[in-house]
Symmetry: C2
C-alpha cells in the first residue's frame, strides 16, 4: 500500500508519502461512492484503477511545492487529486489492447481485463472529466483567476500538446529509429508535462513570483527526465512483483530507451546528475524546499 511508511526513507518524505497516499485514497473513496443503479459498473471500474496502490508522486509534488508558499495542505491535496485523476485516466487508456496491451497494473489486473474494453474507455474518460470538475469545484482558490490558470494548464498538459501527444509519439515510434533527443522529447510530452504542472500548481495556488516559478520549472524539467530514466532502469532490473506491472516490454519490442542507448551505468549517472541539477534549482528557497529535494532523490532511488 502506498500509505505504509517505509523505514528506509527520510522521515519527512516517508511521512508525506503516507499522508498524501492515505488522503488521496480517502478522497477517491468519498468521491466515487457506488450508485444504486447500472452506472455502478462504471464507478467500480474507476475505483478499481484509482484506489490503492500507486506512489501518488504527483499529488505529493503539488503538496511539496505548495508548502513553499504556505498553501494549505487541504487545497494542495485537491489539486493533487485532480492531477492523479488524469494520471490514472492515462494508465487505463495506455493499458488497452490497441495501445500497450498490458494486463497488470499496480499489482492488479488492468481495467479492461477486470471489466471490459468499453468500460475501461468510459472509466478513463470519466476520470479525465472528473479532474476538471474537482479543480473547478473545490474551494481551493484564493482568487478566482487561479482556477482558470490551473484548468487551462492542466488541460494543455493532458492533451495533444502534452500527455496524449506523447503517447501518440510513443506508439508511432514502435517502428522508427530513435536517438536520445527524440526519447527526451517524447518523455517531456508523455510524462514531463504533467509533472511540471504539479510543481507549477503549488506555485500558482501560493501566488509565487515569476522568478520563483522559473526556478521550479527548472526543477520539474530535470526531475521529469530523471524519473523517466529511473523508470527505464526499473523496466530492465526491477522485480515485477514489486513494481506491479509487466516489465522488460521495451526490450521485447526492440524499442530504444535511455537505458538501451546509454547503457545502465551511464543512464544511472545521467539520472543522478539530473537530480543534482533539479536540487540546484531549489537553492533560493533554502531549507523550506527540503521535501522537494527528497522527492527528487527518491525519484531515482525507488523499487517501484
Amino acid at each position: 500500500m502506498s500509505s505504509a511508511p517505509n523505514p528506509h526513507l527520510p522521515t519527512q518524505l516517508g511521512q508525506s508519502l503516507a499522508w498524501v497516499g492515505a488522503g488521496i485514497d480517502q478522497l477517491f473513496d468519498e468521491l466515487l461512492a457506488v450508485p444504486d443503479d447500472s452506472r455502478a459498473r462504471l464507478i467500480q471500474a474507476m475505483r478499481h484503477a484509482a484506489i490503492g496502490g500507486g506512489k501518488r508522486l504527483r499529488p505529493l509534488l503539488v503538496c511539496a511545492s505548495g508548502d513553499l508558499f504556505g498553501v494549505s495542505r487541504a487545497a494542495s491535496l485537491q489539486a493533487g487529486l485532480a492531477v492523479e485523476c488524469i494520471h490514472v485516466h492515462s494508465l487505463i487508456h495506455d493499458d488497452l489492447p490497441c495501445m500497450d496491451d498490458d494486463d497488470l497494473r499496480r499489482g492488479k489486473p488492468t481495467v479492461h481485463v477486470a471489466f471490459d474494453e468499453s468500460t475501461a474507455i468510459l472509466a478513463g474518460d470519466s476520470l479525465l472529466a472528473l479532474a476538471f470538475e474537482i479543480l473547478a469545484g473545490a474551494s481551493i482558490h484564493p482568487i478566482a483567476d487561479v482556477c482558470a490558470e490551473l484548468v487551462r494548464d492542466l488541460a494543455f498538459a493532458a492533451g495533444a500538446s502534452g500527455m496524449a501527444g506523447g503517447q501518440m509519439l510513443d506508439l508511432l515510434d514502435d517502428d522508427g529509429p530513435s536517438d536520445i533527443e527524440a526519447i527526451a522529447r517524447l518523455q517531456r510530452l508523455k510524462t514531463g508535462a504533467l509533472i511540471a504542472w504539479c510543481v507549477e500548481a503549488g506555485a500558482i495556488l501560493g501566488g509565487a513570483t515569476a522568478e520563483q516559478r522559473t526556478s521550479l520549472r527548472g526543477y520539474a524539467q530535470n526531475l521529469g527526465l530523471a524519473f523517466q530514466i529511473a523508470d527505464d532502469l526499473l523496466d530492465e532490473d526491477g522485480d515485477p512483483a514489486t513494481v506491479g506491472k509487466r516489465l522488460r516490454k521495451d526490450a521485447g519490442r526492440g524499442k530504444e530507451t535511455f537505458v538501451s542507448l546509454l547503457g545502465k551505468d551511464r543512464a544511472r549517472q545521467q539520472a543522478e546528475m539530473l537530480v543534482d541539477q533539479a536540487i540546484d534549482h531549489l537553492r533560493s528557497f533554502g531549507e523550506s524546499s527540503s521535501l522537494l529535494a527528497e522527492i527528487a532523490r527518491f525519484s531515482i532511488d525507488r523499487d517501484r
Copy 2:
C-alpha cells in the same frame, strides 16, 4: 456542409445555423493547426472528426441562450466550441469497435477506420481535454467566477454522472429489458446533460437570474427528450446518405427505443408535445427567445 443555408428553414434559424457552422469550422481549423512532427497524425485525426459536417446544434444553443442576455456572439461561440469538442470526443469513442462499432459518421469513415483504434482513443481524449483548455483560456468571462462554474458543470455533464454514465447504461442495456422511464433516464444522461449545459452556459455568461435559469432548464429538458425521439425516428425512417451514419441499428440489436415502445405515430406526437412544452418555458423572455423556439421546432423537423 453544415454552413450551407437551407431554404426551408426560417430565415433567423437558417442564418444562425450557417453562421455558427462556419464559425465553429474556422475556430477548429485555427486551433488544430497540423504540427511539423509525429503528432501530426493525432491532430489530423482530431480535424477529421471535428471539422465539416455536424449540425453544430450545441454551439447554436449556447449562442441562442446567450443572445437573451446580451452575451457577445464571440464569447458564446467559444463556449460552444468547448461543448462541441466534448460532443465530437463522445462520437469518436462511441463509434469504437468495442462500443457501438460504427464505420460511418457525418458521411465519412469514423476515426478508427480512417486512422486506427489507438489514434481514435487519443484523439477523443485530446478533444475532451481541449474543451477545458478552451473554456478556461478564452477571454470570454465577464467575471472570473464564471469560468469555475462553466468548467465544473461541463465536466459533470461529460463524466460518469452525465454523458459517459449514459453510454455505460446504453451498453449494459443491450441485453436487458427497457421501458419508457428507463429510456428517458438514459437519454437524460447520455445526451440531455450536455444539451442542458449549452442552454445554461448562455445564462451563466449573461448573469441570468435564478428564475430565468429555471425556465431555461425546463426548456432544455423538454428539448433534449424531443431531440432524442427525433433521432429514434430518423434511425427508423431516415436516409443513411443524408443522415451520414448507419441507421436501423437499434432494431437490428433488438434494442428498445422510444419508437419501438410507442410506435411511430405516438412517438411523433410525444416529440411535438415536448417541443410545445419547451417553447412554453420561454414565455417570460418574449420575442427575444424566438431563435430558441425555432431551434426546438427544428430539433424534431430535420432530415439528419
